[in-house]
Symmetry: C2
Subunit: 326 residues, 2 copies
């Protein structure tokens, strides 16, 4: 592999000039810059990022903590993170933390060892081992988190409940996500703020996770427990799909006999029959803006808005009944 | 943050002894090792991985190239990779390459700059910029790839076609994946090896990708083109789900009027009604074994089997008709 000396020799300039060109600091004449770039190309010289990061004390890497990459919501988030990080010249080290496990702390140690420039985390209670390592929380955000990008889940809950109330609700079952997940509580608050002032009859079922496994168990359980159900407001699309499947398996028609609304707008919600009506979280945007915010922190740029809250939207497909004319 | 000198001082040993303990080379007495480990714990000393990687010329990082993380097959693969890498003390730098894009080469350059110890790639035609950077291909593997972990897709095709032939096939449509993906060709070879010796009538539809978008377009197109279809062998679960949805939308019953088999066994294939019968790829195992093989290459261990081929399995749910008694 070529060295910086060989680049300087071929370009006919000093090593210091190559270094200034690479680091984009100090004056380099147009002519010299072109020669250096040509020499770099010819010799296939890659300035060693490891050496650079040792010198600069931080690397061009961002650590990413996600709670469960097999939930299709997170790959969408990851795409946004990756696109923004790449635009800023950063790459991503992945840490996948199973829901409820302690691996998050191990990863934070690993990230510190690898001198990452900062951390993006969607795992609750992520602690920064070093004050020097900036953290931006995304998606699962608590009141105490200084820097955060997330969806307005109260509004999401309101949108979901309003869509049900507008469409002959009957008896409603609300599947609420785990209390440990901040967004899940906000959604429930939003849902109840719509239902409580009405005389709609509802039941709340609280779950421990957002996983497929629990979704299947819960779907069977609610029919066993409540018998005839007219509407379901689910905590995420996986739970909504599981309820639709169980209803169909029991011979009910969706949406005629039972209507179902999800949350997330994962890609599969459009691949089922009938298509799932759901609340679309701007997952790509949450990821994109979180990575952007983190890079601004790393570069110590002026930041106007430390906590960015994005709006969800109702996506109407075919799992709800027709809207009633008022 | 603590330094190696402070560790040595607290443990009452020399810096060289701490270094030998950390690097696990050279003699260190049991007693000294225990003192060093206690001091490391007390001072929360993290040996700097960046400094270490500069010294050793490679890092404890593996670059990972994936074609499309929003396809739910890949997160399963990623989980296997991550678990195995973590067991070996390696972390993963992620490179997501949209299908058909040129970003793969950019990532390989980036990985080289970051001194990754090796690369895992599921992107066809991944080139190693440096002979020094070992690559193991996974999932999408060509004949020319020396080190590779993948599924026996010919066998997968045979299992899928046999399941259809055993169940009153009628007119069959085979949706074949892109010719550029090696596994897609193997599956088609497997399918045809079963259908050709019979007098089952079939049509082949070739697609350009494995994406949801093309799945939806293709599902509509095959009904327009062929009218009455009795069986569909899909290139992956996304295409199978799209066909099931379109059939149901047109008022057909699955499996009575049309039966459908998928490929991959993504988590959602069990969340639709009726549940999708499919070919299960051992995605977690492919990822796990590929990371293991790569680490063995990095450590220059003796390797018996450079190309590891894993067997797929038929997973029977409810999207196929009852098997005919022979």
């Amino acid at each position: 592999m070529a060295t910086i000396k060989e680049v300087a020799k071929l370009a006919g300039v000093s090593v210091a000039t190559v270094s200034r060109t690479l680091n984009k600091n100090g004056y380099v004449s147009e002519n010299a810059r072109e020669k250096v770039e040509a020499a770099i190309k010819e010799l296939e010289y890659y300035p060693n990022e490891v050496a650079r990061s040792l010198f600069q004390k931080t690397s061009k890497m961002i650590g990413l903590l996600l709670p469960d990459i097999s939930n299709p919501y997170f790959p969408l988030l990851m795409k946004g993170i990756e696109e923004s990080a790449r635009e800023h010249g950063y790459s991503i080290i992945l840490g996948n933390v199973e829901e409820g496990s302690e691996a998050g702390n191990d990863y934070m140690t690993l990230f510190a060892q690898q001198n990452v420039a900062g951390v993006l985390s969607a795992v609750e209670n992520t602690l920064s081992h070093q004050q020097a390592m900036p953290v931006v929380m995304l998606d699962r955000v608590m009141e105490v988190d200084d820097y955060a990008v997330y969806t307005n889940d109260v509004k999401g809950g309101i949108l979901a409940a309003q869509a049900i109330v507008d469409r002959d609700p009957g008896k409603v079952v609300i599947i609420a996500g785990p209390k440990t997940v901040p967004g899940a509580i906000d959604r429930l608050i939003g849902v109840l703020s719509v239902l409580n002032p009405t005389n709609v009859e509802y039941e709340i079922v609280e779950t421990q996770s957002f996983s497929i496994k629990e979704a299947e168990v819960t779907a069977k359980e609610i029919f066993r427990r409540y018998g005839k159900i007219d509407s379901v407001i689910a905590s995420n699309d996986l739970f909504a799909l599981a309820v639709m499947k169980e209803a169909q398996r029991r011979g009910s028609r969706v949406p005629e006999d039972i209507q179902v609304i999800g949350y997330d707008n994962i890609p599969f919600s459009q691949l089922v029959y009938p298509g799932l009506t759901t609340i679309s979280q701007p997952a790509f945007q949450v990821g994109y803006q979180a990575a952007d915010l983190l890079v601004r922190r790393i570069k110590q740029k002026d930041i106007q808005n430390k906590r960015i809250k994005l709006d969800p939207e109702l996506v109407v497909r075919d799992s709800l009944r027709e809207r009633e004319e008022k």
